[in-house]
Protein backbone atom coordinates (compact mmCIF):
# COMPACT_ATOMS: atom_id res chain seq x y z
CA UNK A 1 0.00 0.00 0.00
CA UNK A 2 1.32 3.36 -0.87
CA UNK A 3 -0.06 6.35 0.84
CA UNK A 4 1.68 9.65 0.66
CA UNK A 5 -0.79 12.36 1.48
CA UNK A 6 -0.82 14.98 -1.18
CA UNK A 7 0.76 12.82 -3.85
CA UNK A 8 0.19 9.08 -4.20
CA UNK A 9 3.44 7.46 -5.18
CA UNK A 10 2.59 3.96 -6.37
CA UNK A 11 3.05 3.61 -10.09
CA UNK A 12 -0.16 4.24 -11.91
CA UNK A 13 -1.97 5.38 -8.78
CA UNK A 14 -1.92 9.10 -9.37
CA UNK A 15 -1.29 11.44 -12.22
CA UNK A 16 2.41 11.74 -12.90
CA UNK A 17 3.69 14.89 -11.22
CA UNK A 18 4.42 17.59 -13.71
CA UNK A 19 2.14 16.10 -16.31
CA UNK A 20 -1.14 17.83 -17.05
CA UNK A 21 -3.94 15.56 -15.80
CA UNK A 22 -6.20 14.47 -18.61
CA UNK A 23 -9.86 15.34 -18.60
CA UNK A 24 -10.58 11.66 -17.96
CA UNK A 25 -8.41 11.67 -14.87
CA UNK A 26 -9.91 14.89 -13.55
CA UNK A 27 -13.42 13.55 -14.08
CA UNK A 28 -12.50 10.29 -12.35
CA UNK A 29 -11.05 12.16 -9.40
CA UNK A 30 -14.18 14.31 -9.15
CA UNK A 31 -16.38 11.21 -9.18
CA UNK A 32 -14.27 9.56 -6.50
CA UNK A 33 -14.45 12.64 -4.26
CA UNK A 34 -18.23 12.63 -4.74
CA UNK A 35 -18.35 8.93 -3.80
CA UNK A 36 -16.26 9.60 -0.71
CA UNK A 37 -18.54 12.47 0.24
CA UNK A 38 -21.53 10.12 -0.06
CA UNK A 39 -19.65 7.60 2.08
CA UNK A 40 -18.96 10.29 4.69
CA UNK A 41 -22.64 11.26 4.82
CA UNK A 42 -23.67 7.62 5.13
CA UNK A 43 -21.23 7.10 7.99
CA UNK A 44 -22.56 10.25 9.69
CA UNK A 45 -26.09 8.89 9.36
CA UNK A 46 -25.08 5.50 10.76
CA UNK A 47 -23.33 7.22 13.66
CA UNK A 48 -26.47 9.22 14.42
CA UNK A 49 -28.31 5.90 14.89
CA UNK A 50 -25.82 4.71 17.50
CA UNK A 51 -26.43 5.43 21.19
CA UNK A 52 -24.62 8.57 22.38
CA UNK A 53 -21.24 8.24 24.04
CA UNK A 54 -21.76 8.52 27.80
CA UNK A 55 -19.68 11.64 28.37
CA UNK A 56 -20.25 14.99 30.07
CA UNK A 57 -19.56 16.86 26.82
CA UNK A 58 -20.87 16.12 23.31
CA UNK A 59 -18.52 13.60 21.72
CA UNK A 60 -18.78 11.49 18.58
CA UNK A 61 -16.76 8.68 17.06
CA UNK A 62 -16.30 10.71 13.90
CA UNK A 63 -16.75 7.74 11.57
CA UNK A 64 -17.07 10.04 8.56
CA UNK A 65 -13.41 10.95 9.01
CA UNK A 66 -12.64 7.57 7.46
CA UNK A 67 -13.59 9.05 4.09
CA UNK A 68 -11.37 12.08 4.72
CA UNK A 69 -8.47 9.82 5.69
CA UNK A 70 -8.91 7.76 2.55
CA UNK A 71 -8.85 10.93 0.47
CA UNK A 72 -5.75 12.11 2.28
CA UNK A 73 -3.90 8.82 1.84
CA UNK A 74 -4.87 8.02 -1.75
CA UNK A 75 -5.87 11.24 -3.45
CA UNK A 76 -4.01 14.01 -1.71
CA UNK A 77 -4.31 16.92 0.66
CA UNK A 78 -6.39 19.06 -1.68
CA UNK A 79 -9.13 16.46 -1.98
CA UNK A 80 -9.05 15.81 1.77
CA UNK A 81 -9.55 19.53 2.42
CA UNK A 82 -12.32 19.53 -0.17
CA UNK A 83 -14.11 16.71 1.65
CA UNK A 84 -13.76 18.43 5.02
CA UNK A 85 -15.31 21.61 3.58
CA UNK A 86 -18.09 19.65 1.86
CA UNK A 87 -18.93 17.88 5.12
CA UNK A 88 -19.18 21.23 6.90
CA UNK A 89 -21.35 22.59 4.11
CA UNK A 90 -23.73 19.69 4.59
CA UNK A 91 -23.86 20.37 8.34
CA UNK A 92 -24.64 24.01 7.54
CA UNK A 93 -27.52 22.98 5.28
CA UNK A 94 -29.02 20.44 7.66
CA UNK A 95 -28.28 21.98 11.06
CA UNK A 96 -27.02 25.52 11.64
CA UNK A 97 -24.03 27.83 11.52
CA UNK A 98 -22.51 26.86 14.87
CA UNK A 99 -22.28 23.09 14.28
CA UNK A 100 -20.95 23.86 10.78
CA UNK A 101 -18.23 26.08 12.26
CA UNK A 102 -17.28 23.30 14.68
CA UNK A 103 -17.17 20.79 11.84
CA UNK A 104 -15.09 23.06 9.62
CA UNK A 105 -12.57 23.93 12.33
CA UNK A 106 -12.17 20.31 13.38
CA UNK A 107 -11.92 19.04 9.82
CA UNK A 108 -9.41 21.60 8.58
CA UNK A 109 -7.22 21.30 11.68
CA UNK A 110 -7.14 17.51 11.57
CA UNK A 111 -6.28 17.36 7.85
CA UNK A 112 -3.55 19.97 8.33
CA UNK A 113 -2.01 18.15 11.29
CA UNK A 114 -2.10 14.77 9.54
CA UNK A 115 -0.50 16.27 6.44
CA UNK A 116 2.21 17.99 8.47
CA UNK A 117 2.98 14.90 10.52
CA UNK A 118 3.26 12.77 7.41
CA UNK A 119 5.55 15.22 5.68
CA UNK A 120 7.71 15.92 8.72
CA UNK A 121 8.16 12.20 9.37
CA UNK A 122 8.90 11.64 5.66
CA UNK A 123 6.20 9.01 5.49
CA UNK A 124 7.50 6.98 8.41
CA UNK A 125 4.52 7.63 10.66
CA UNK A 126 1.97 4.82 10.71
CA UNK A 127 -1.66 5.14 9.69
CA UNK A 128 -2.69 4.39 13.23
CA UNK A 129 -0.82 7.39 14.66
CA UNK A 130 -1.98 9.62 11.81
CA UNK A 131 -5.54 8.62 12.52
CA UNK A 132 -5.16 9.15 16.28
CA UNK A 133 -3.56 12.58 15.75
CA UNK A 134 -6.32 13.49 13.31
CA UNK A 135 -9.05 12.47 15.74
CA UNK A 136 -7.50 14.36 18.66
CA UNK A 137 -6.99 17.53 16.65
CA UNK A 138 -10.51 17.24 15.22
CA UNK A 139 -11.87 17.35 18.78
CA UNK A 140 -9.42 20.09 19.70
CA UNK A 141 -10.41 22.26 16.73
CA UNK A 142 -14.05 22.07 17.70
CA UNK A 143 -13.43 23.04 21.30
CA UNK A 144 -11.08 25.84 20.29
CA UNK A 145 -13.94 27.36 18.30
CA UNK A 146 -16.13 26.95 21.36
CA UNK A 147 -13.54 28.79 23.43
CA UNK A 148 -13.19 31.53 20.83
CA UNK A 149 -16.93 32.12 20.83
CA UNK A 150 -17.38 31.79 24.59
CA UNK A 151 -14.32 33.19 26.31
CA UNK A 152 -15.41 31.97 29.71
CA UNK A 153 -15.24 28.34 28.64
CA UNK A 154 -12.16 26.45 29.80
CA UNK A 155 -11.09 23.42 27.84
CA UNK A 156 -8.64 22.35 30.55
CA UNK A 157 -11.22 20.23 32.33
CA UNK A 158 -12.33 18.54 29.10
CA UNK A 159 -8.81 18.12 27.70
CA UNK A 160 -8.28 14.69 29.33
CA UNK A 161 -11.58 13.51 27.92
CA UNK A 162 -10.73 14.90 24.47
CA UNK A 163 -7.41 13.06 24.49
CA UNK A 164 -8.87 9.73 25.58
CA UNK A 165 -11.81 10.03 23.17
CA UNK A 166 -9.45 11.06 20.38
CA UNK A 167 -7.25 8.01 20.92
CA UNK A 168 -10.28 5.72 20.92
CA UNK A 169 -11.84 7.33 17.85
CA UNK A 170 -8.51 7.38 16.00
CA UNK A 171 -7.86 3.68 16.62
CA UNK A 172 -11.43 2.83 15.58
CA UNK A 173 -11.20 4.90 12.38
CA UNK A 174 -7.86 3.40 11.40
CA UNK A 175 -9.11 -0.15 11.94
CA UNK A 176 -12.32 0.51 10.01
CA UNK A 177 -10.43 2.13 7.16
CA UNK A 178 -8.19 -0.90 6.96
CA UNK A 179 -11.23 -3.17 6.84
CA UNK A 180 -12.81 -1.02 4.13
CA UNK A 181 -9.71 -0.94 1.93
CA UNK A 182 -10.40 -4.20 0.06
CA UNK A 183 -13.80 -2.84 -1.01
CA UNK A 184 -12.37 0.55 -1.90
CA UNK A 185 -9.52 -1.18 -3.72
CA UNK A 186 -11.99 -2.68 -6.17
CA UNK A 187 -12.67 0.80 -7.47
CA UNK A 188 -11.12 1.19 -10.87
CA UNK A 189 -9.52 4.57 -10.64
CA UNK A 190 -8.98 6.30 -13.96
CA UNK A 191 -5.27 6.60 -13.21
CA UNK A 192 -4.90 2.96 -12.19
CA UNK A 193 -5.87 0.58 -9.43
CA UNK A 194 -7.15 1.70 -6.08
CA UNK A 195 -5.44 0.75 -2.87
CA UNK A 196 -4.76 -2.95 -2.49
Amino acid sequence: MSAEPGRATEAGRAPVPGRQASQHERLGRLVLVALLFALALTLQWIEALLPPIPAPVPLKFGLSNIAVMYALFFLGGRDAYQLAVLKSGFVLLTRSVLPAAFSLAGGLLSVTVMLLLHRLSRGRISWLLLSVSGAITHNLGQFLVLQLLYRSVSILWVAPLLLVAGVAAGVLSAVLLRLLLPALGRLRLPWGQGPS
Binding site: M1, S2, A3, E4, T9, P52, P54, A55, P56, V57, P58, F73, S96, L98, P99, R122, G123, R124, I125, S126, W127, L128, L129, V132, I136, L146, L149, Y150, S152, V153, S154, L156, W157, A159, P160, L161, L163, V164, G166, V167, V171, A174, R178
Partner: protein
Protein backbone atom coordinates in the same frame (compact mmCIF):
# COMPACT_ATOMS: atom_id res chain seq x y z
CA UNK B 1 15.51 11.16 1.45
CA UNK B 2 12.78 8.98 -0.04
CA UNK B 3 9.55 8.40 1.81
CA UNK B 4 9.38 5.17 3.77
CA UNK B 5 6.72 2.62 2.90
CA UNK B 6 3.76 3.44 5.14
CA UNK B 7 2.53 0.78 7.54
CA UNK B 8 -0.70 0.38 9.42
CA UNK B 9 0.84 0.28 12.88
CA UNK B 10 4.15 -0.18 14.60
CA UNK B 11 4.96 -1.45 18.07
CA UNK B 12 6.26 1.91 19.12
CA UNK B 13 2.81 3.35 18.40
CA UNK B 14 1.70 1.73 21.65
CA UNK B 15 4.29 3.83 23.48
CA UNK B 16 2.99 7.01 21.86
CA UNK B 17 -0.60 6.10 22.71
CA UNK B 18 0.42 5.26 26.28
CA UNK B 19 2.15 8.67 26.44
CA UNK B 20 -1.01 10.42 25.26
CA UNK B 21 -3.07 8.62 27.89
CA UNK B 22 -0.49 9.57 30.53
CA UNK B 23 -0.80 13.22 29.46
CA UNK B 24 -4.59 12.88 29.77
CA UNK B 25 -4.19 11.52 33.30
CA UNK B 26 -1.82 14.36 34.21
CA UNK B 27 -4.22 16.96 32.83
CA UNK B 28 -7.05 15.39 34.78
CA UNK B 29 -5.06 15.61 38.02
CA UNK B 30 -4.09 19.20 37.17
CA UNK B 31 -7.72 20.20 36.59
CA UNK B 32 -8.74 18.54 39.86
CA UNK B 33 -5.98 20.43 41.67
CA UNK B 34 -7.05 23.70 40.05
CA UNK B 35 -10.65 23.00 41.02
CA UNK B 36 -9.65 22.47 44.64
CA UNK B 37 -7.94 25.86 44.76
CA UNK B 38 -10.91 27.75 43.36
CA UNK B 39 -13.59 26.73 45.81
CA UNK B 40 -13.88 30.22 47.33
CA UNK B 41 -14.36 32.08 44.05
CA UNK B 42 -17.74 33.76 43.65
CA UNK B 43 -19.31 32.78 40.37
CA UNK B 44 -22.35 33.19 38.23
CA UNK B 45 -23.64 31.03 35.44
CA UNK B 46 -24.14 32.52 32.00
CA UNK B 47 -26.83 31.01 29.82
CA UNK B 48 -26.27 31.40 26.08
CA UNK B 49 -28.85 30.64 23.43
CA UNK B 50 -27.99 30.77 19.73
CA UNK B 51 -24.86 32.76 20.54
CA UNK B 52 -26.66 35.40 22.66
CA UNK B 53 -26.28 35.81 26.40
CA UNK B 54 -29.81 35.45 27.72
CA UNK B 55 -29.30 34.98 31.45
CA UNK B 56 -26.87 35.39 34.31
CA UNK B 57 -27.67 33.19 37.29
CA UNK B 58 -25.98 34.13 40.58
CA UNK B 59 -24.53 31.00 42.11
CA UNK B 60 -24.03 32.28 45.65
CA UNK B 61 -26.58 33.26 48.24
CA UNK B 62 -29.58 32.15 46.23
CA UNK B 63 -32.18 29.62 47.17
CA UNK B 64 -32.67 26.43 45.21
CA UNK B 65 -34.84 27.01 42.20
CA UNK B 66 -35.57 25.94 38.65
CA UNK B 67 -34.96 28.14 35.61
CA UNK B 68 -37.18 27.40 32.64
CA UNK B 69 -35.99 28.57 29.25
CA UNK B 70 -38.66 30.76 27.68
CA UNK B 71 -37.97 29.55 24.14
CA UNK B 72 -38.28 25.90 25.18
CA UNK B 73 -40.01 25.01 28.44
CA UNK B 74 -38.57 21.51 28.25
CA UNK B 75 -35.09 22.85 28.95
CA UNK B 76 -34.78 23.33 32.70
CA UNK B 77 -31.78 24.47 34.71
CA UNK B 78 -31.57 24.13 38.46
CA UNK B 79 -29.56 26.15 40.95
CA UNK B 80 -28.66 24.11 44.00
CA UNK B 81 -28.17 25.43 47.51
CA UNK B 82 -24.46 24.62 47.37
CA UNK B 83 -24.00 27.18 44.59
CA UNK B 84 -23.90 24.81 41.63
CA UNK B 85 -26.10 24.77 38.56
CA UNK B 86 -27.07 21.95 36.25
CA UNK B 87 -29.33 21.01 33.40
CA UNK B 88 -31.98 18.88 35.06
CA UNK B 89 -34.28 18.37 32.10
CA UNK B 90 -34.14 18.67 28.34
CA UNK B 91 -36.03 17.23 25.41
CA UNK B 92 -32.84 16.58 23.44
CA UNK B 93 -32.32 12.99 22.32
CA UNK B 94 -28.79 12.47 23.64
CA UNK B 95 -29.22 13.99 27.14
CA UNK B 96 -25.53 14.95 27.16
CA UNK B 97 -26.40 18.24 28.89
CA UNK B 98 -28.20 16.51 31.75
CA UNK B 99 -25.40 13.96 32.11
CA UNK B 100 -22.84 16.73 32.50
CA UNK B 101 -24.10 17.18 36.04
CA UNK B 102 -23.50 20.07 38.37
CA UNK B 103 -21.26 22.98 37.41
CA UNK B 104 -19.56 24.97 40.12
CA UNK B 105 -16.05 26.04 39.09
CA UNK B 106 -15.12 28.84 36.68
CA UNK B 107 -14.59 27.65 33.13
CA UNK B 108 -16.89 24.65 33.45
CA UNK B 109 -19.64 24.43 30.92
CA UNK B 110 -22.52 22.28 29.78
CA UNK B 111 -23.92 22.32 26.28
CA UNK B 112 -27.24 21.25 24.84
CA UNK B 113 -26.37 21.37 21.15
CA UNK B 114 -29.78 20.25 19.81
CA UNK B 115 -31.40 23.18 21.66
CA UNK B 116 -28.39 25.46 21.06
CA UNK B 117 -28.00 26.27 24.75
CA UNK B 118 -24.68 26.67 26.49
CA UNK B 119 -24.18 27.28 30.20
CA UNK B 120 -20.79 28.48 31.42
CA UNK B 121 -19.57 29.28 34.90
CA UNK B 122 -17.83 32.64 35.17
CA UNK B 123 -15.92 34.05 38.13
CA UNK B 124 -17.34 37.35 39.31
CA UNK B 125 -16.83 39.84 42.07
CA UNK B 126 -20.47 40.79 42.28
CA UNK B 127 -22.69 39.03 44.76
CA UNK B 128 -25.70 39.06 42.51
CA UNK B 129 -26.49 39.88 38.94
CA UNK B 130 -29.78 40.97 37.38
CA UNK B 131 -31.83 38.18 35.90
CA UNK B 132 -33.45 38.84 32.56
CA UNK B 133 -36.78 37.45 31.54
CA UNK B 134 -35.70 34.92 28.90
CA UNK B 135 -35.31 32.31 31.61
CA UNK B 136 -37.88 32.40 34.36
Amino acid sequence: MPNAEPVFARRRDLLVIAGLLAIAAALYLLSQFATGRRTEVVCHAEVWHQGRLVESIPMCGGAERDFHCSWNEAVVLHRYADGSVAFVHSDCPDQVCVRTGRLRDPGRFAACLPNQVLVTVVATTEESLPEVDHVS
